[in-house]
């Protein structure tokens, strides 16, 4: 009787809404860059831009890991201390055992994946809420890092090429005018790979599906908990990469470090427009989110704003970003 009634909704009325948030986040990033360029002549210098990128690399990699878990509708509070634990693992393999560098790299990533596997098992098989399971893992890993290292930093004195992993520049060797540090390259390559995994592979598809309606995934005959464990394990492996980056930059595994990094990572994810409710999100958004955070901190520092205030501003930005997202969404209906 009413033709509109039955036909309505058969066509998408607007483009995928995630795109808008990404544009919004990207625009904010540009505005921030322009603002700081005008505010301080020191901001737009090659050295400073590289410093910003270098500072983004660790948080960016952790945020990529956190994005995967958050899209499934979960949360991973253990990414920070897991990063530390994998750094300590690399220290044990390279310095205590004296094995060559590839073993350290594989060891850190494998340890990360293993710990992610444990978190995933707690969440998917034992049905412990992700917040609690990963809160527990966060403390366990913080404690284990201190236990294994004997509460002292482990230095990579036996592996002289280790610092180059993050601070060296392969690109700089090829093109001396572009001394982009390896850490930054690793972040961007990793982001592209994971973005591809999310959008083009089964694992990525289940990531979104689980966050959208887990029961529906199960009823579709998919091994929902198995895939969830796999996603947490992948996220853990990525934390291993972050562990390598931070320890190579400091040329040491600092066991007391790590707490608080998970919140920066989650903040970057949220600013990038990934929904904490699960089901929607993107790696590109997360990378922009991580860049916004480091540009902001760097810019405020260059303008000599006190560190205390930098933290206050970051908090305000997170709330503003989420509120802007909600406004946009309510308008989209």
């Amino acid at each position: 009787m009413t033709a509109t009634d039955t036909q309505q909704g058969s066509k998408p009325r607007r483009p995928a809404s995630g795109a808008q948030q990404k544009i919004l986040a990207f625009a904010s990033l540009i505005v921030l860059l322009m603002f700081f360029s005008v505010a301080s002549p020191n901001f737009l210098q090659t050295g400073n831009i590289l410093a910003i990128l270098q500072a983004t690399s660790v948080n960016g990699v952790l945020a990529v890991a956190a994005t995967l878990v958050i899209i499934t509708g979960g949360i991973d509070l253990s990414v920070g201390t897991l990063m530390t634990f994998t750094a300590v693992t690399a220290g044990v393999v390279l310095t205590y055992w004296g094995l060559p560098m590839p073993f350290g790299i594989i060891g850190a990533i494998a340890m990360g994946a293993f710990c992610g596997f444990i978190s995933g098992t707690l969440v998917a098989r034992l049905k412990i809420p992700p917040f609690i399971a990963t809160l527990g893992m966060m403390l366990i890993l913080k404690g284990l890092s201190l236990v294994v290292s004997g509460t002292k930093p482990i230095y990579f004195n036996d592996t002289p090429s280790y610092p180059a992993l993050s601070t060296g520049s392969l690109i700089g060797k090829l093109f001396p005018s572009l001394p982009i540090p390896n850490g930054v390259v690793i972040l961007f390559v990793l982001a592209m790979v994971i973005s591809w995994v999310l959008n083009r592979t089964t694992l990525g598809r289940y990531c979104f599906a689980l966050g959208s309606n887990e029961e529906a995934v199960r009823l579709s005959g998919v091994n929902a908990s198995g895939w969830k464990v796999a996603i947490y394990a992948l996220a853990g492996g990525i934390c291993g990469v972050a562990g390598l980056l931070i320890s190579s930059r400091l040329n040491s595994a600092q066991p007391a470090l790590g707490l608080g990094y998970e919140l920066d990572a989650i903040a970057a994810v949220v600013i990038g427009g990934t929904s904490l409710a699960g089901g929607r999100g993107s790696i590109l958004g997360t990378i922009i989110g991580a860049l916004i955070m480091s540009v902001l901190l760097n810019g405020l520092r260059i303008m000599s704003v006190a560190q205390e205030w930098q933290t206050v501003v970051t908090g305000a930005i997170i709330i503003a970003a989420v509120y802007a997202d909600m406004l946009r969404r309510s308008r989209a209906g």
Binding site: T2, D5, P12, T201, R205, F208, G221, V222
Partner: protein
């Protein structure tokens, strides 16, 4: 007719419940077989066993003559058994095609998904169903009816020979139901056997070939749909004859006006709506889905902003801007979706009944008078006949009909004398429905002014003293209740577009 499914002596226990007692069911090729019974009769449980979601404690299942055990949904799919769940089991953030092929994505040997392929395959399935849905649309953007079509497409994509539909029309309007029936008939003609679970009698008569009735987890009987009266089926379901009579309509012309609404507006869904509701009156609101009935209720209740119009309660103009204002004016709204809006499911009966009235049961130090609350709750439980072991029972453990009564109790305790019921019997079984109708009558006799919004015309005709009909946000007419009004007349008003203006008032 050849048999494709035979389930015999199926037993299933849940903690504290004997859900199925020697249940049986058989299904023929190319038939639509209705499975009926009150809520809790075991229909859904039996079908969940057939589709591999639950494992039976004992019993035998034969599919196409061979004894099978169905361990999980995947095994059911392999046997050609598909189920469309009552609560749609879709992933709203994924596209239509992604939903249909979840778990079976075509991919190359590196695990890369072939998006173009699934879009093409989905298109092909929709073509056989003769419906037009864009495979790349996000499911959250589709209407419920369209989402249902996606579910059906998903079931068909497994080459299902057996399709189970659990209350497929619960959220559909008449047009959409018609569209669904067309598809069901087409599938049937292609030899698909369909199990159709529904509470709607008229649908069962129209679409099904045979009807199996269950009661208390046991098999009652199987009858032909064409040669069995609705009364027979109902008495099989409830084990007793039901009172189907319509109560006499009282003369209310002298009763004071409890609620007067003039020129109400809210966007496209509420356009210049005016009506009066008298004390002791039940005013039914009829219309197709999306006609704006719920929106009118929400604006009166202050849940949505009122763009224009006046609301008078007991002769006094009230500026209702929020549900708080509405409750203070004595208006209670019993929303369509009890679980989402009307009840705190994890809280006990007493807590739910007390929720809007807590201020009256606490002193100025905010200490709650539990004894007083218990007394008040006990009174409501008794007067409304809420079946619950105690007032400390969690509401989620009650049946749909009893949950509905808890919502009513909560507004009665708050002294609301204008009650708006939005789809009061959705998801409630036949026996409990009759009880809710009686309750509405009793409330009206006690002087409450009542609005009932319902998509089921027989229900509107049964309970209403007068019937307001809406179409596209406008009130297209008010008809008298009772036998002089036919469903046909209501439908005529419910489909009257703006181009044919005509006033009709009772």
């Amino acid at each position: 007719m050849t048999e494709i499914v035979r389930m015999t002596a199926i037993e299933k226990h849940f903690p504290g419940v004997h859900a199925l007692r020697a249940a049986r069911f058989d299904l023929h090729h190319g038939e639509v077989h209705a499975l009926m019974g009150e809520n809790g009769a075991g229909k859904s449980t039996l079908m969940k066993i057939l589709s591999g979601i639950y494992a039976p404690d004992s019993g035998s299942i034969q599919v196409a003559g061979a004894e099978v055990s169905i361990a999980d949904p995947r095994a059911a799919q392999a046997l050609g058994i598909g189920i469309i769940h009552q609560e749609l089991a879709l992933m709203p953030d994924l596209t239509v095609a992604q939903n249909i092929f979840i778990g079976r994505e075509p991919r190359n040997r590196w695990g890369i998904l072939d998006e173009a392929q699934i879009n093409k395959d989905a298109e092909a399935i929709f073509a056989t169903m003769k419906v037009r849905i864009d495979p790349t649309a996000e499911v959250r953007r589709l209407t419920i009816a369209r989402q249902q079509m996606v579910e059906i497409a998903k079931a068909l994509s497994f080459r299902s020979r057996i399709l189970i539909m659990d209350e497929p029309t619960a959220a559909l309007n008449e047009n959409e139901t018609e569209e669904l029936f067309t598809i069901i008939r087409r599938l049937k003609s292609e030899g698909v056997a369909i199990v159709y679970i529904s509470h709607k009698m008229n649908e069962i008569r129209r679409i099904s070939d045979r009807v199996t009735v269950m009661r208390d987890g046991a098999y009652v009987g199987t009858v032909g749909a064409a040669d069995t009266t609705i009364e027979t089926i109902i008495s099989m379901m409830v084990g007793r004859e039901l009172d189907q009579t319509v109560a006499a309509i009282p003369d209310l012309t002298g009763a004071p006006v409890a609620l007067a609404v003039r020129g109400l507006r809210h966007g496209r869904m509420v356009r210049d709506v005016s009506f009066e509701l008298r004390q002791g009156e039940i005013l039914g609101f009829a219309g197709l889905m999306g006609a704006g009935r719920t929106e009118v209720a929400r604006v009166i209740f202050g849940a949505d902003p009122r763009e224009a119009g006046e609301i008078e309660v007991h002769g006094t103009a009230r500026d209702i801007r929020s549900p708080q204002d509405a409750v203070a004016a004595g208006i209670g709204y019993l929303s369509e979706d009890r679980k989402q809006f009307g009840l705190a499911l994890g809280i006990d009966v007493r807590g739910n009944i007390a929720l809007p009235s807590l201020d009256r049961f606490s002193d100025r130090f905010l200490r709650v008078d539990e004894a007083g609350l218990a007394q008040a709750a006990a009174r409501q439980i008794q007067s409304l006949g809420i079946r619950t072991p105690s007032d400390r029972q969690e509401v989620r453990l009650l049946s749909g009909g009893n949950q509905q009564k808890v919502v009513i109790a909560k507004w009665l305790l708050r002294d609301c004398d204008i009650l708006i019921f939005d789809e009061p019997t959705r998801g409630i079984d036949v026996g409990a429905k009759a009880e809710i109708y009686r309750l509405l009558q009793t409330l009206a006799e006690a002087g409450k002014a009542i609005i009932v919004i319902s998509s089921e015309l027989p229900e509107i005709l049964r309970v209403s003293h007068r019937i307001a009909v809406m179409c596209e946000g406008r009130l297209t007419g008010i008809l008298p209740g009772g036998p002089q009004t036919s469903q046909h007349e209501i439908m005529r008003l419910a489909t009257r577009r703006e181009s044919e203006p005509e006033e009709a008032t009772a």
